[in-house]
């Protein structure tokens, strides 16, 4: 067992252990990678409902009359366009255009922006935002004030609806509302990281274990399963959602990561904007592309990619795709080759194995 003292734990740590979860060190957090098995949990989310503890994720609160202006100055997407109760996916960039983090920005009130950030980046993100606070805002690193549960899958809404008087049907995708879950104040967001319908709820840490059990009971009739980081990864990869440290990091800009849709160049100045304009003018050199294995083998993060017999890029994420029954991956390729239908080779244990670039996302749910 890992030394408890050296790893950070969520309020649900003992719940995971009691469920017999396999625990791993995930960026300094003691987190469940799987319970019943990655494929089983993955399938539960695609066909019914799964429950994830994502309390390791960080939260940053920006408050003040100019909260939206500060958020707009440090992120790529257009915060001014967000309505109260609306959220969007966005990027925090360095001046040179590379990612500090990828984040979810929620507009709670005209003077209150709530940001959900990656666990291992939260302190860095907080300092990055605070350092640019020329707007007299209060910026708070609030990760310890929230536990976060993700209820994901086609039966996610039906499960959560049993525990709240908030009409979940009235919350559009990427909108949220403050309500109650199982009698406890909760931020209820129609968001997720699985490519499936579902909700993410932010609750007080002291209530997390009770709410976890309430959700499990509510979902019992649908065969709800606790799901770990292993399934979270295969689900997000099928949906081609980026993972910090894999598809994106300080050396990658959002245009290369095929995330141009979260960059609003015309919204006004923001950190990294000039670098992105220059990168666009100079012409992008590389871009993220999806691929499927054709030969036998599984691509893994960091494996080299060859094109026409020469090194051309690297795999950022690779895995079996349980829903698709294929081995898939994402990789960086020279931009002229980052299009579907290109024959590439993945170097697996010094052997080139055939693969082909494909349209993404690999999986898209029926609406």
């Amino acid at each position: 067992m890992p030394e408890a003292s050296s790893l950070r734990v969520t309020p649900l740590n003992s719940v995971h252990r009691a469920l017999g979860a396999k625990m791993v060190d995930f960026g300094g957090w003691d987190m469940p990678v799987q319970y019943s098995g990655i494929i089983d949990e993955h399938n539960a989310v695609r066909t019914s409902v799964g429950l994830f503890d994502v309390s390791h994720m960080g939260e940053i609160e920006i408050r003040g009359p100019q909260a939206a202006q500060l958020a707009d100055a440090v992120t790529t997407n257009n915060v001014a366009k967000l309505q109260i109760g609306q959220a969007h996916y966005s990027g925090l960039l360095y001046d040179h255009g590379g990612f500090v983090d990828d984040i979810l920005v929620h507009k709670v009130a005209p003077d209150h922006i709530f940001v959900c950030v990656n666990a291992s980046n939260q302190d860095k993100d907080f300092e990055h935002i605070q350092a640019q606070n020329k707007f007299d805002c209060s910026v708070e690193n609030a990760g310890s004030q929230y536990a976060q549960l993700a209820i994901q899958g086609p039966k996610g809404a039906a499960t959560l609806q049993k525990l709240t008087s908030t009409d979940l049907k009235a919350i559009k995708y990427y909108w949220f509302t403050d309500g109650e879950v199982a009698g406890t104040p909760a931020r209820i967001a129609h968001t997720g990281y699985t490519g499936e319908d579902g909700f993410e709820i932010y609750v007080p840490p002291s209530e997390a274990a009770r709410i976890w059990n309430e959700v499990m009971n509510a979902g019992a009739e649908f065969g709800i399963k606790p799901a770990g980081l292993g399934a979270r990864n295969t689900l997000r990869l099928e949906a081609k959602m980026a993972l910090y440290g894999h598809e994106i990091d300080a050396s990658i800009n959002p245009l290369e990561a095929d995330l141009g849709w979260i960059v609003k160049i015309d919204k006004g100045d923001f950190t990294g904007r000039d670098a992105l304009v220059r990168a666009k003018e100079a012409g992008l050199k590389r871009k993220l592309a999806g691929f499927e294995m054709r030969g036998r083998g599984i691509a893994r993060d960091g494996y080299e990619v060859y094109l026409d017999g020469a090194p051309a890029g690297w795999v950022t994420s690779g895995s079996p795709a349980p829903t698709l029954n294929k081995n898939i991956g994402l990789c960086y390729l020279p931009i002229e080759h980052a299009v579907p239908g290109k024959s590439i080779q993945i170097i697996i244990r010094n052997q080139p194995v055939d693969a082909v670039t494909v349209e993404t996302p690999f999986y898209k749910r029926a609406k």
């Binding site: 067992m1 396999k22 990678v33 799987q34 098995g37 990655i38 494929i39 089983d40 292993g230 990864n233 295969t234 036998r296 083998g297 599984i298 893994r300 895995s319 079996p320 349980p322 244990r349």
Partner: protein, 127 residues
């Protein structure tokens, strides 16, 4: 759980010696740690194996794991069913899901490996 007539390695392989032939597999503990096994890469018959060197790999959804040969010798047979049904390694790692059979270069080598009791102590301590 861990057959008495097998010998075990610290890298969680087992070996069963019958005459000058050894059958090699991975342990129940190994499959449990790996989780859903989705791919098995094994050597061709005729391949010469060295003790302690990689003979192939087993992959779960999450990760790749090398399999190290517990013995030296020549591969005589490979479990072909694992190519199409790698998940059998999760169900029956000590039986139907053996990996390779090896003609031993030196049958006495296996005496250096762990007994079932020692292996169980070893994985107990590892946890």
């Amino acid at each position: 759980m861990y057959p008495e007539n097998f010998r075990y390695t610290k890298e969680h392989e087992w070996v069963l010696v019958e005459g000058d032939t050894a059958t090699v597999g991975i342990t129940d503990h190994a499959q449990e740690e790996l989780g859903d096994i989705v791919y098995v890469d094994l050597p061709k018959p005729g391949t010469k194996l060295e003790a302690g060197k990689s003979l192939g790999s087993v992959e779960s959804v999450k990760a790749v794991s090398d399999v190290y040969s517990p013995v030296a010798g020549e591969v005589t047979e490979v479990n072909q069913t694992l190519a199409d049904s790698p998940e059998k390694l999760n169900d029956d790692p000590h039986g139907a899901a053996w990996l390779v059979k090896v003609k031993l270069a030196s049958p006495a080598d296996v005496q250096n490996l762990m007994s079932a009791a020692d292996y169980q102590t070893y994985i107990g301590a590892e946890k």
